[in-house]
């Protein structure tokens, strides 16, 4: 049984995805569906809040990678914020901060979106 879920929130013109649980090859389809929903609704400014994300594998990272260039091309981004240290440490070791904008807090990530918008 999957213990992964995606919650949707909006702050200003930023679509926030609250990830909860463990994101792997079994649950990645759920994240993909959530990002496709943003894509359909032309919400290209997406902030992924990882404060309740306990684990992510390359299958989960692959979902971000499959969409991030298109979202950036359309003037948006998929930013990642508030990762738990144990999740961030693996991200960092694998070099993913080079690809994604990863911020310490949701507030900081929203500020980055606002800075670009001005």
């Amino acid at each position: 049984m999957s213990n992964f879920s995606v919650g949707f929130r909006t702050t200003g013109n930023v679509q926030i995805l609250d990830l909860r649980g463990e994101l792997d090859a079994h649950t990645a389809a759920e994240l993909e569906a959530a990002i496709q929903k943003c894509q359909r609704e032309q919400e290209f400014r997406v902030l992924v809040n990882g404060s309740n994300l306990a684990y992510i594998s390359s299958a989960g990272l692959g979902v971000f990678m499959a969409f991030i260039e298109e979202f950036r091309d359309r003037g948006g981004d998929i930013k990642i914020a508030a990762l738990q240290p144990k999740v961030y440490n693996v991200f960092d070791l694998l070099g993913f901060p080079m690809l994604f904008d990863i911020e310490a807090s949701e507030h900081e990530a929203i500020r980055k979106f606002d800075t670009v918008a001005r």
């Binding site: 049984m1 999957s2 213990n3 463990e22 792997d24 090859a25 079994h26 684990y55 594998s57 390359s58 299958a59 990272l61 692959g62 979902v63 990678m65 499959a66 991030i68 260039e69 298109e70 144990k86 999740v87 440490n89 693996v90 070791l93 694998l94 070099g95 993913f96 080079m98 690809l99």
Partner: protein, 143 residues
């Protein structure tokens, strides 16, 4: 410390990945590995089993994956065996992260991640079985 072996067999479906991660994490924690090392072990084993499911068994969901966690005084090894298509490490090319993102490809990072997170990763095939053998040394435990 004597050598201890813990084994688990799961069907080749992604629905069992969480159980596999929990199994590895439990034994790595019991063997007093640091939390960061436990996370790295979990991910390396997850990536290996995902590759077995998607590539060796090509999505067949009822084939066996045999996992053994072998704890020794200076290291923890994980041995993962399957009976699917063999993986040829010589045909594998290390992915370039930025290039991958630009070409909008997803996936293909499993072996790269396993090699980054573990101290040793070896593949071999004998008879109908394929084996991936990965080792993580304790901090300061490697000669």
């Amino acid at each position: 410390m004597s050598r201890r072996i813990h084994t688990l067999t799961v069907p080749s479906s992604t629905r069992y990945l969480e159980e596999v991660r929990d199994f590895v994490a439990r034994h790595a924690s019991d063997a007093a590995f640091e939390p960061d090392a436990v996370e790295q072990l979990k991910m390396a084993v997850d990536e290996c089993c995902t590759n077995v499911i998607e590539h060796a068994y090509r999505g067949e969901s009822e084939r066996p994956i045999d996992i053994a966690v072998i704890v020794e005084s200076d290291r923890l090894a994980v041995r993962i065996r399957d009976e699917g298509q063999a993986f040829d490490p010589s045909s594998y090319r290390e992915p370039d992260l930025v290039q991958f993102a630009r070409t909008r490809k997803s996936g293909g990072f499993g072996v790269h991640i396993m090699r980054r997170l573990m101290d040793e990763v070896r593949f071999r095939t004998y008879g109908r079985k394929n084996e991936c053998y990965m080792v993580k040394y304790r901090e300061g435990g490697r000669a």
